[in-house]
C-alpha cells in the first residue's frame, strides 16, 4: 500500500496525478505554471485537487522540476567562485573550440557562468596516475576566499586537474575553506563526477554550484508547504538519469535534476512496456513546441552519460530523450528558396494556433490538423470550440505562396512534421543498432496520439500504444519510479581478472557510500572500449547482492563484443579495456496495486465526419467516439477519431483499436500479424 501523488511542472502547465492505493482511485489536476514561484503554483493545484484527508494518507510525493534548468536558461543562479589548478584558470571559457552552429562564422559562445575574476588559481597538481606532482598551497585558497567574499560569492566550485584519479587536494581545499570560516555551499568536482575530461567536469561542477542555492531553497520551501498542508510522507524528485531521489539528496546534488522534466514520460513509458511485455518501444511525446522521443529496450529507457544543456556539457547520467522543434504549435512557413518548412518557431501558448482565436495569424500543425478534420468537431474542454474556418483561411494564405490550396497545404504541414519526427526516431534507433519496424510507438502528450498512426505508416511500425491519461502522461510516469543513487569513476584498466577485481574494489567503495537501509538492488555497470578507441559502451553485468560483478572478464567481454556489433555492425580483433565504473543503488517503492482500468470523461453517442486519410490520400468518413465509451473486449475498426479530455487520437484507415484490460488503448495495423 503506497498512496502517492506526482506533480510535473512544464513550461505552460503544471500537471498533478494522485493515485490512491486503497481503492485504485486517480485524481487528475491541471493548472497554469507559476514560473516565478513554482512551489506556490504546486501548493495551489494540490489544494484544488487533493482532499486534506487524502493528502495526510499519502506516503510519497514525486516531483519533476524545471527549476534547475530555468536558472540556467535565465542565468539567474548563484554568484559562483571557482578554484582551479594554477595554470588552468580558463578551462571553463576556452571550452573545446567547437561551435553550436558549425557553418556560421559569426557564432560566438555564451559567456561562462563564472567570470574570469572569480576563477582563481591554487598551486597544486595531481598527475594522471593520481600521484602528487605539486603540493597543495593552502595560502592560495585563503587569498581566493578573500576575493570571493569581496565579490559576494554564494557558492564555491573546486575543480582540480585529475581529481578523478586522486581527490586529496580537492578535499584539502574544502577543509581549508571550512577552517577559514566559509559556511556557504561547496561543490567538489570529484564528488560531482568521477570522470575525466576537464572542461566537461568543470562545466558540470560549476552548473551544480550555480543552481545549488536556488534548487535546494526551492525544495525546502516546497516540502515545508506540503507539510503545512498535512503531508507526512517522503518527498522525491526525478533524476535526469531516471529514478528518484529524496529532496535532501537533491539539495546536495542539484545538477542531477537539470533534465528532470522530460524524463518522467520516458520512465512511465518504460513501466508501460514492462507491463505490456513490449521489448522495443519508442516514445512519441508531442507537446506544444517540441517532439520528444526515447528508445526503450526491454523496459529500460536508454541512458547516456554525457549530455549538454544550454550549450553546457554535463557529465551526468540522463535518460536519452531527444527533442526536435516540432509540436502542435509549430508554425509553417515558406522559406526564401520556395520550400514549405514547419517549425522550429512555435506559436506557443500565446498567441497559440490560429484556431484558438487568441490572435495567432500564422498556421500551425494544430491548424492543419483542425482543417483536415483530425480533431473531429474541434470541441475543447470547457465548451470552447476551435475556429476551423480561421485555420483554413490562414492555410489558404500560406498555400498561395506555394501554388497549393488549403487542403494540400495542410496535408503538407502534417507530412513534413511527421517526417521530421520519423527521422528523429530513426536516428535514435539506428544509433543503437535497432530496427524501428520491430518497435511499438508509445504516443502521448497533447498532440502525440494525433501522430501515432502517421508515424507508424512512415516507419513501417505495426503497433501504436496510447496510455491512459495520455495528455498528462508525464505526471503519471513520476509515480512508478524507484529511489536511485549513482556514482561513476574513471580508472582505465585492462579487462582481465585483475581488472575486474580492481573494478569490484572501486565499486565496493562507491556502494558503501550509496547504499542505505532498504536498498534492494546494487547495480554495477562498466564503460568498456576497444583499446585505442575513445568512445565507450556501457554494459550491465550480473551482480552479487553486495553489488560485486558476478561475471568473469571473459563473459563481460563477450557481452561487450556482442553489443558493439549490434550497435556498430562489426567486430574488432582488439583487446578490451575498462574506462569507468558505474554504481547504482536502487530502492524500490512499493508497487502500485492494479489500478482501475476506467478512463474518465463523458460518453456521447458515436458520431462521424469527413476527415483526411493519409493512407487513402483523400477525405473519408471517420467515426468519432469517446475513449471512455470504448469497450475492453471489442476491436473497433478505423478510420476513427477517439476523444478524451486532454488529447485526441487519430486512427487512420487500415488500423484498428482495442482497449487492453489495463485501460491502455492499442492501435494495430490490420494484417500486421501481431
Amino acid at each position: 500500500m503506497a498512496t502517492r501523488f506526482g506533480v510535473d511542472v512544464g513550461g505552460t502547465f503544471t500537471d498533478l496525478i494522485f493515485y490512491d492505493d486503497e481503492n485504485g482511485e486517480v485524481f487528475v489536476g491541471k493548472g497554469a505554471t507559476n514560473a516565478a514561484a513554482p512551489d506556490e503554483g504546486i501548493a495551489q493545484i494540490v489544494s484544488d485537487t487533493v482532499p486534506d484527508e487524502a493528502l495526510r494518507a499519502a506516503q510519497f510525493f514525486l516531483h519533476g522540476t524545471t527549476v534547475g534548468i530555468n536558472a540556467l536558461l535565465e542565468r539567474k543562479g548563484a554568484v559562483v567562485g571557482l578554484l582551479t589548478t594554477d595554470g588552468f584558470r580558463d578551462v571553463l571559457e576556452i571550452r573545446r573550440g567547437d561551435r553550436e552552429e558549425f557553418m556560421d562564422s559569426l557564432w560566438t559562445a555564451a559567456a561562462p557562468l563564472v567570470p574570469r575574476r572569480l576563477r582563481l588559481p591554487v598551486r597544486e597538481r595531481v598527475a594522471a596516475d593520481g600521484s602528487i606532482h605539486t603540493p597543495f598551497e593552502r595560502e592560495d585558497v585563503a587569498r581566493a576566499l578573500e576575493a570571493f567574499r569581496a565579490n559576494g560569492v554564494e557558492s564555491i566550485a573546486v575543480m582540480f586537474l585529475n581529481a578523478y584519479a586522486n581527490p586529496e587536494h580537492e578535499l584539502a581545499a574544502e577543509a581549508a575553506l571550512r577552517e577559514l570560516g566559509y559556511d556557504g555551499e561547496i561543490s567538489l568536482s570529484h564528488r560531482i563526477s568521477g570522470e575525466f575530461r576537464e572542461y566537461e567536469r568543470s562545466s558540470t561542477t560549476v552548473v551544480d554550484a550555480y543552481v545549488r542555492p536556488r534548487v535546494s531553497g526551492y525544495l525546502r520551501r516546497l516540502e515545508g508547504t506540503l507539510n503545512e498542508r498535512g503531508f507526512r510522507g517522503d518527498c522525491l524528485v526525478t533524476r535526469s538519469g531516471g529514478g528518484a531521489m529524496r529532496f535532501s539528496e537533491a539539495g546536495e546534488r542539484p545538477f542531477e535534476t537539470i533534465m528532470s522534466g522530460p524524463v518522467a514520460g520516458a520512465v512511465g513509458a518504460g513501466e508501460l512496456c514492462r507491463a505490456l511485455d513490449i521489448s522495443q518501444g519508442i516514445t512519441a511525446d508531442v507537446g506544444g513546441t517540441s517532439f520528444d522521443t526515447c528508445l526503450i529496450l526491454d523496459g529500460r529507457p536508454q541512458v547516456r552519460y554525457e549530455g549538454k544543456v544550454v550549450e553546457m556539457p554535463l557529465q551526468s547520467p540522463w535518460v536519452d530523450v531527444r527533442s526536435i522543434g516540432s509540436g502542435g504549435g509549430s508554425i509553417a512557413h515558406v522559406d526564401s528558396g520556395g520550400l514549405l518548412r514547419v517549425g522550429p518557431r512555435s506559436a506557443g501558448a500565446k498567441p497559440g494556433p490560429v484556431c484558438y482565436g487568441r490572435g495567432g495569424t500564422e498556421p500551425t500543425v494544430t491548424d492543419a490538423a483542425a482543417h483536415l478534420g483530425m480533431l473531429a468537431f474541434g470541441e475543447l474542454a470547457g465548451g470552447l470550440a476551435l475556429d476551423v474556418d480561421a485555420s483554413t483561411a490562414a492555410l489558404e494564405r500560406l498555400g498561395r505562396e506555394l501554388g497549393l490550396d488549403a487542403e494540400k497545404t495542410a496535408q503538407g504541414i502534417l507530412t513534413i512534421a511527421n517526417a521530421a519526427m520519423a527521422f528523429a526516431i530513426r536516428s535514435v534507433t539506428i544509433e543503437q543498432g535497432q530496427d524501428p519496424r520491430e518497435a511499438s510507438i508509445l504516443a502521448f502528450g497533447g498532440a502525440g496520439p494525433l501522430f501515432g498512426t502517421l508515424l507508424a505508416e512512415e516507419l513501417g511500425v505495426g503497433r501504436v500504444v496510447v496510455p491512459k491519461h495520455a495528455g498528462n502522461f508525464s505526471a503519471w510516469g513520476l509515480l512508478g519510479q524507484d529511489l536511485t543513487r549513482s556514482r561513476a569513476l574513471t580508472s582505465i584498466r585492462t579487462l582481465d581478472a585483475e581488472g575486474v577485481a580492481a573494478a569490484n574494489a572501486s565499486l565496493a567503495t562507491m556502494f558503501a557510500e550509496l547504499a542505505e537501509d532498504g536498498s534492494d538492488a546494487l547495480e554495477p555497470a562498466l564503460d568498456l572500449r576497444y583499446v585505442g578507441q575513445e568512445y565507450t559502451l556501457t554494459v550491465h553485468p550480473r551482480a552479487d547482492p553486495d553489488g560485486a560483478i558476478a561475471e568473469d572478464a571473459q563473459e563481460i567481454e563477450t557481452t561487450f563484443r556482442r553489443d558493439y556489433e549490434r550497435t556498430f555492425g562489426h567486430r574488432l580483433d582488439v583487446p578490451v579495456e575498462i574506462v569507468s565504473m558505474r554504481a547504482t543503488a536502487r530502492t524500490s517503492l512499493p508497487r502500485k496495486a492494479n489500478e482501475s482500468s476506467a478512463v474518465g470523461g463523458t460518453v456521447r453517442p458515436r458520431r462521424s465526419l469527413e476527415a483526411y486519410s493519409f493512407t487513402q490520400e483523400e477525405r473519408v468518413t471517420f467515426g468519432v467516439v469517446d475513449r471512455a465509451g470504448l469497450d475492453v473486449s471489442e476491436f473497433v475498426e478505423g478510420p476513427l477519431i477517439v476523444l478524451e479530455e486532454t488529447t485526441t487520437t487519430y486512427v487512420d484507415v487500415g488500423y484498428r483499436v482495442h482497449v487492453h484490460p489495463s485501460g491502455t488503448m492499442i492501435i494495430e495495423k490490420k494484417g500486421a500479424g501481431s
Binding site: G87, F88, R89, D90, V91, E93, I94, R95, R96, G97, D98, R99, E101, F102, M103, D104, S105, L106, T108, A109, A111, P112, R116, A127, A128, H133, L161, N162, F196, R197, E198, S336, G337, G338, L339, L340, R341, L402, G403, L404, K408, Q411, G412, T415, I416, F423, S427, I430, E431, Y530, G532, Q533, E534, Y535, T567, F568, G569, H570, L572, V574
Partner: protein, 569 residues
C-alpha cells in the same frame, strides 16, 4: 581553369520547378540529410584514431549518379562538397560507371584526386537500387599514417614523399575483399592496426549512408526521387542567390600571406578577388604565386571545396548544403599556380593555404558587407602531431589542435577561442585525456593577456598551451601566422601572432614556425601560443565600461588599455 558545379544554370535566379511536389521534396531532403548524418555518426563511433572521433577530421557525403552532392554530414567545412572531383576521377580511372558493381569499394589516396594530402584516404562505395547505379557514398578520413617520409611533414618537395599513392583501386569487388591489395595497404603504414580500424569504420559508415539513400528511393520510387532531387538542388541554389542579390555588385580584392613555403623562409603573399554580379559570384585565384617548391600548394579540388565553405559560412543560412548551394559559385584558377598546382608538386600542407584563402575571401567580402564577417581569428589550428615508440617497439602517434582567439564582429567581442571556421567540427583534446596516455603533462592552458586585437569590439584572447615531455618523442608543428598577426577589420587592431618556443633540457631554446620530426627529449618544455582574434571597429569607440571590465577580468593589462583606449581613462 574555370570550375563550376554540374548542371549550372547561368544566373537564372530562382526558377523553381513548380510542378514538383514541394512537400515530397522537403521530406526527401530530410531523409538525405539524416542519412548523411548517420554516416558521420557511424564513422565517429567506430573509428580508431582520435583524429577522427575526437577531432572529426573527416568528410562523409552522399552523391547521386550524376555526382551531385545530396547531403553531407556535419564535420569539417573545409571539405564541403569535396568529393565531386574525386568520384569523377575514380569512376573514369576504373573505366566508367558501367563497370561498377554492387559490393565494390573504391579506395584512393591520390592527393590530386581527393583534394587532400594523401593520408586523407578516401573510400567511395557505389550505391545500387534494383541493380541500377543510383549514387555514391564517399568518405574521407585523416589516417595517422600512410607511409609519408614522416608521420606528419612540413618540408616535402613532391607528392611521392607524402604517402603511398593508391589511385582509385577496388579494395573490394562484389563484396569480396582483395586481400593482396589490402595487405599492401597495411604494409605501407607505420600504424597498421589503427589504419585497419579506421578503414573498417569508413566502409561501415558508407554502407549506412547507402542504406539510408535506398530507403528514400524505395519509399518514393526512382522517378519521383530524381524529380525531387532536382527541385531540392534548385531550392539550395535559390537560397544562396537570394543572399548575394542583396550585395552591391563589384570586384572586391584582398590579400594574405603564408609564413613560408616550408622549404625557404620567405613569406608567400597572394591575393584573391571576389566578383559579385547579380546573384552570381566568382572567386578569382588567378593572381596568386607560382607553384611552390614546398608543400603549401593547394590542389584544385581543395580550392573548390574551401571556396564553397567560405561562401556558405556567410550565405548558407545554417542549412545542410547540397550541390544546388554551389551553383552560383564559380572558381577561377590558373594551372601552375599555388592554388592550382600540377603533379607532382608537393601539397602536404594544402589545408593551411586553404585556411588562409578562406580568411582572405572573407576579408574581401567585408568590403561588400561589413557586418557579414568577423575580423580574423588566430588563422590557424595550432596543430601538433607527435609520435614515438613504446618499449615493445610499437609505434604510437597522437595529434591535437589548439584553438586560437576568435575575431570580433559587428555583433560584439570575439569571446571564447574557436577553431577556424573551415575546421569548425574540430574539438581540442582534453588535457586529462592526453595525460592519461602518459607521454606529456600540461603546465599551462590559459589565456594570454593582451593577445586579442583592440577595437570597438575586442578580439578574443589567444591561448598559451605549455607541455612537458615525459618521454622521448618526435613532433611536427605545421603552424601558420607566426609572422603576420591576425588582422582587424574596419579600424580594429591586429591581434597577437602565433608562436612556438621549445626549451630543451640542456638549456637551449628553439623558435619554431613549421617544423617536421623535431626530436623532443624527455623533459623538454614545449610552449605553443595560439594567435588572438582581431578587433572590429575603431578602438576609440569602445565603451569605457567594457575597457574597465577587460582590465578587471585580466583580458587586457592596464598599460595596454591606456595605450589602445586612452578615451576610457
Amino acid at each position: 581553369m574555370t570550375l563550376q558545379s554540374p548542371g549550372t544554370t547561368s544566373g537564372s535566379g530562382s526558377a523553381a520547378t513548380v510542378d514538383v511536389d514541394p512537400v515530397r521534396t522537403e521530406v526527401i531532403r530530410h531523409g538525405l540529410v539524416a542519412a548523411a548524418d548517420q554516416m558521420g555518426t557511424t564513422l565517429r563511433r567506430t573509428a580508431f584514431s582520435p583524429v577522427i572521433y575526437e577531432i572529426t577530421d573527416f568528410a562523409a557525403a552522399l552523391y547521386d549518379r550524376d555526382i551531385n552532392l545530396l547531403a553531407q554530414a556535419r564535420a569539417l567545412p573545409l571539405f564541403l562538397g569535396t568529393f565531386n572531383h574525386c568520384i569523377e576521377a575514380s569512376v573514369a580511372k576504373l573505366g566508367g560507371p558501367e563497370v561498377l558493381e554492387p559490393g565494390d569499394v573504391i579506395f584512393s589516396t591520390y592527393g590530386y584526386d581527393i583534394g587532400s594530402h594523401q593520408q586523407d584516404a578516401t573510400v567511395i562505395v557505389p550505391g545500387f537500387f534494383e541493380d541500377e547505379l543510383v549514387g555514391y557514398a564517399a568518405i574521407k578520413a585523416h589516417h595517422m599514417d600512410i607511409g609519408a617520409k614522416e608521420p606528419y611533414c612540413t618540408d616535402t618537395t613532391d607528392i611521392f614523399q607524402e604517402g603511398v599513392i593508391f589511385p582509385s583501386v577496388r579494395l573490394y569487388r562484389r563484396g569480396e575483399r582483395q586481400d593482396d591489395l589490402y595487405r599492401t595497404v597495411l604494409a605501407n603504414t607505420r600504424m597498421p592496426q589503427a589504419f585497419a580500424g579506421d578503414l573498417a569504420a569508413q566502409i561501415a559508415a558508407a554502407t549506412v549512408g547507402l542504406t539510408g539513400l535506398n530507403r528514400v528511393i524505395e519509399r518514393y520510387g526512382i522517378a519521383q526521387f530524381r524529380e525531387s532531387v532536382e527541385r531540392m538542388l534548385e531550392h539550395g541554389d535559390a537560397l544562396v542567390r537570394t543572399f548575394f542579390e542583396r550585395l552591391p555588385d563589384g570586384r572586391y580584392t584582398a590579400s594574405g600571406a603564408m609564413d613560408s613555403n616550408g622549404i625557404t623562409d620567405d613569406e608567400v603573399p597572394f591575393e584573391i578577388s571576389v566578383e559579385i554580379s547579380g546573384s552570381d559570384i566568382v572567386l578569382d585565384f588567378t593572381n596568386t604565386p607560382p607553384e611552390q617548391i614546398g608543400p603549401i600548394n593547394c590542389p584544385l579540388a581543395a580550392v573548390v571545396s574551401v571556396s564553397r565553405a567560405a561562401i556558405l559560412s556567410v550565405a548558407g543560412g545554417g542549412e545542410s548544403a547540397n550541390e544546388g548551394h554551389f551553383r552560383s559559385i564559380e572558381v577561377r584558377t590558373k594551372p601552375g599556380t599555388m592554388f592550382d598546382p600540377q603533379p607532382p608538386a608537393p601539397i602536404y600542407l594544402y589545408s593551411w593555404a586553404a585556411l588562409q584563402a578562406l580568411d582572405v575571401i572573407h576579408r574581401a567580402l567585408a568590403q561588400a558587407m561589413p557586418e557579414a564577417v568577423p575580423a580574423m581569428g588566430g588563422g590557424d589550428l595550432g596543430a601538433m602531431v607527435w609520435w614515438g615508440r613504446d618499449e615493445d617497439g610499437t609505434v604510437w602517434g597522437d595529434v591535437n589542435d589548439h584553438q586560437p582567439g576568435n575575431g570580433a564582429s559587428a555583433g560584439g567581442d570575439g569571446g571564447s577561442p574557436l577553431m577556424h571556421i573551415s575546421c569548425s567540427g574540430i574539438r581540442n583534446s582534453p588535457v586529462e585525456v592526453l595525460e592519461a596516455r602518459g607521454r606529456i603533462i600540461s603546465e599551462r592552458f590559459e589565456f594570454a593577456t593582451d593577445s586579442g586585437g583592440a577595437g570597438k569590439f575586442r578580439g578574443g584572447p589567444g591561448v598559451d598551451n605549455f607541455y612537458r615531455a615525459l618521454r622521448d618523442f618526435h613532433v611536427t608543428l605545421p603552424w601558420e601566422r607566426t609572422k603576420n598577426p591576425p588582422w582587424g577589420l574596419h579600424g580594429g587592431l591586429p591581434a597577437r601572432a602565433a608562436g612556438i618556443e621549445l626549451q630543451f633540457p640542456d638549456g637551449t631554446t628553439q623558435i619554431v614556425r613549421k617544423g617536421t620530426g623535431i626530436f623532443i627529449p624527455k623533459g623538454t618544455l614545449m610552449k605553443l601560443m595560439t594567435g588572438g582574434g582581431g578587433g572590429w571597429g575603431d578602438p576609440a569607440e569602445r565603451d569605457p565600461a567594457a575597457v574597465a571590465s577587460d582590465i578587471r577580468e585580466g583580458y587586457v593589462s592596464e598599460a595596454a588599455a591606456r595605450r589602445d583606449y586612452p578615451h576610457a581613462f
